[in-house]
């Protein structure tokens, strides 16, 4: 039983650590900033910066996103500066001979020499219902869990 109590303590510690876990929501301002700063005719899809469309800071790990981060991109305010540095560096992430900024203006993916079109690209949806890339947030799911826990508490209190 002592081991079980210690186990619960470790579990409580791990659960407590969740208090610091941010709900990583998509920063919808970023595509708008890129579109505005580079005068694009389209809004860049999430896949330009996020792996498999998973939004959230932890998944902004495409080569293009890393190239921006290497130029001090951390938030909405620094995105414009990072884009300007990328442009002045004439940086070519995928090494296909066309700079990232030129690729975005041409509507092609700066991450890949395959030059897929980014304009009107149908992004993949995730979930059994094929939810759009900006579907239900983790916050909503957490609320659902909390509601379940509350209902369970009420039920158990009613029995005691």
């Amino acid at each position: 039983m002592i081991a079980a109590k210690r186990g619960y303590s470790a579990l409580a510690l791990a659960l407590a650590s969740l208090a610091w876990a941010p709900t990583a929501r998509a920063e919808r301002e970023f595509p708008v900033i890129i579109q505005s700063d580079l005068a694009l005719s389209y809004e860049v899809p999430c896949s330009v910066c996020h792996l498999k469309e998973n939004t959230g800071a932890a998944t902004a790990r495409t080569p293009f996103a890393l190239a921006l981060k290497a130029r001090d991109f951390t938030d909405g305010q620094s995105l414009g500066t990072a884009l300007a540095r990328l442009k002045s560096d004439d940086f070519d992430t995928d090494g296909d001979g066309v700079s990232d900024v030129a690729e975005l203006k041409a509507g092609t993916d700066p991450n890949s020499a395959a030059d897929a079109s980014l304009i009107d690209a149908q992004e993949p949806g995730y979930g059994c219902g094929g939810s759009a890339p900006h579907g239900r947030s983790s916050g909503q799911a957490a609320l659902g869990v909390a509601a379940l826990a509350w209902l369970l508490t009420r039920r158990l209190r009613g029995r005691s």
Partner: protein, 387 residues
């Protein structure tokens, strides 16, 4: 002692929040475990432990602080540290893994992040030849590839039937880890990312047949696609297979192959046929040391080129439960004018108590962007608690 309803509530919340034990420790070969099926319900490793696997995990994984571990399993080896005793045919499990990371790229400044890597609950049923397995969990990113809806994920779910002498064969259908290469928990390694065969969220729906007996283990998966992504054009179809032979108890050698096609690749947004073919080995030359080596050729039709990814990892366990881990890896896409990415990891992991471990890693990378390489640095701290 907390009131009963609080304890029940805690268990309920835990079951809701925390599935999946992401144990996939190929360095267990240092204990002469060349195969995975004796300890895992998934015969190719990872996930829910069998009763024997949970006992061996308690005996072999954690630090015992001077107490002789022997062959006796402590009461804490069981589910929820032994507080709950499910029937033998029912194997509940869960895992919570959190990550604090500080990283920088190029001349940029360090940024910090907190990632809820896993909060999965899992369960398996093993009754005669019948096998059933399911996981559900929660992550703090939107729309992961294993999403059921939003941030609620199910990485694995399958039904199967084991047959043959000592259940050497298992045929199963559902969402299954891809049988390819070394099944390790570091899902961001180049060999795992470039082949899309990690334990995190690259599972695919399909039908698999595995064989585990004596020195040979193998599995082939007919991939029908990830039915948790839509529309259908993004689903990859093809096969993934590995076979590993262990001529001695402290060394195993394997080969892997994978070919898939999607009408529209989730990364490249183009029709793409992917191929990966490689070899791997696990070797424990002396008891405290385990070496893992994998080398894969990778090719994509959308970017006509053949590249490669390699990985060498050394895991030293100077005292039981404490692991010192060094990893070197590289990746070359094969595209014209592209450079080679390099990465080095130095880490330490400690299984400090039953069902809990922590790990710290320092990662230094040189990432190839076209012909240029950009340095990247990360410091990661993980806490892992499993049920």
């Amino acid at each position: 002692m907390p009131p009963a309803f609080v304890r029940l509530l805690l268990i309920a919340v835990v079951l809701l929040l925390l599935p999946r034990s992401a144990h996939a420790y190929p360095w267990m070969i240092r204990h002469d475990y060349t195969g995975c099926a004796t300890c895992h319900v998934d015969p190719s490793g990872g996930g829910v432990l069998t009763e024997y696997g949970a006992a061996q995990g308690d005996i072999l994984l954690r630090t015992h602080y001077g107490a002789k571990s022997g062959d006796d399993t402590s009461a804490s080896a069981g589910f929820l540290w032994g507080a709950v005793h499910p029937p033998a045919w029912f194997l509940p499990s869960g895992s919570l893994r959190t990550l604090a990371i500080a990283s920088k790229n190029g001349s940029g400044s360090f940024s910090e992040d907190f990632v809820l890597m896993q909060a999965d609950v899992r369960a398996a049923i093993v009754s005669g030849g019948f096998r059933a397995y399911a996981s559900a969990g929660f992550v703090n990113v939107d729309n992961p590839a294993a999403s059921l809806t939003g941030s609620v994920v199910s990485r694995e779910h399958w039904l199967g039937w084991a047959f043959g002498q000592d259940d050497a064969f298992l045929v199963r259908a559902g969402r299954i880890n891809l049988p390819f290469g070394i099944r390790q928990i570091e899902h961001t390694l180049f060999v795992r990312q470039s082949t899309r065969t990690d334990l995190n969220d690259t599972q695919q729906h399909g039908v698999a047949l595995s064989y585990n007996s004596g020195a040979l283990r193998a599995e082939v998966l007919a991939i029908a696609g990830n039915y948790q992504v839509s529309p259908d054009v993004y689903r990859e179809r093809g096969y993934s297979v590995y076979a590993e032979y262990a001529p001695v108890s402290n060394a195993a050698f394997g080969v892997s192959s994978l070919v898939t096609h999607a009408a529209r690749d989730v990364y490249l947004l183009l029709p793409n046929t992917r191929q990966a073919h490689g070899a791997f080995t696990r070797w424990a030359p002396v008891s405290p040391l385990a070496l893992l080596l994998e080398a894969d050729l990778i090719a994509q039709s959308a970017v006509p080129a053949t590249g490669y990814a390699t990985m060498l990892q050394a895991d030293v366990e100077p005292i039981q439960g404490l692991h010192l881990i060094a990893t070197g890896e590289n990746l070359h896409s094969g595209a014209n004018g592209s450079g080679t990415s390099w990465s080095g990891w130095l880490g330490a992991g400690w299984f400090f108590m039953p069902h809990a471990d922590t790990r710290v890693d320092f990662v230094r990378q040189s990432l190839a962007f076209g012909t240029k390489n950009v340095p990247a640095t990360a410091l990661m701290l993980q806490l892992h608690v499993y049920l």
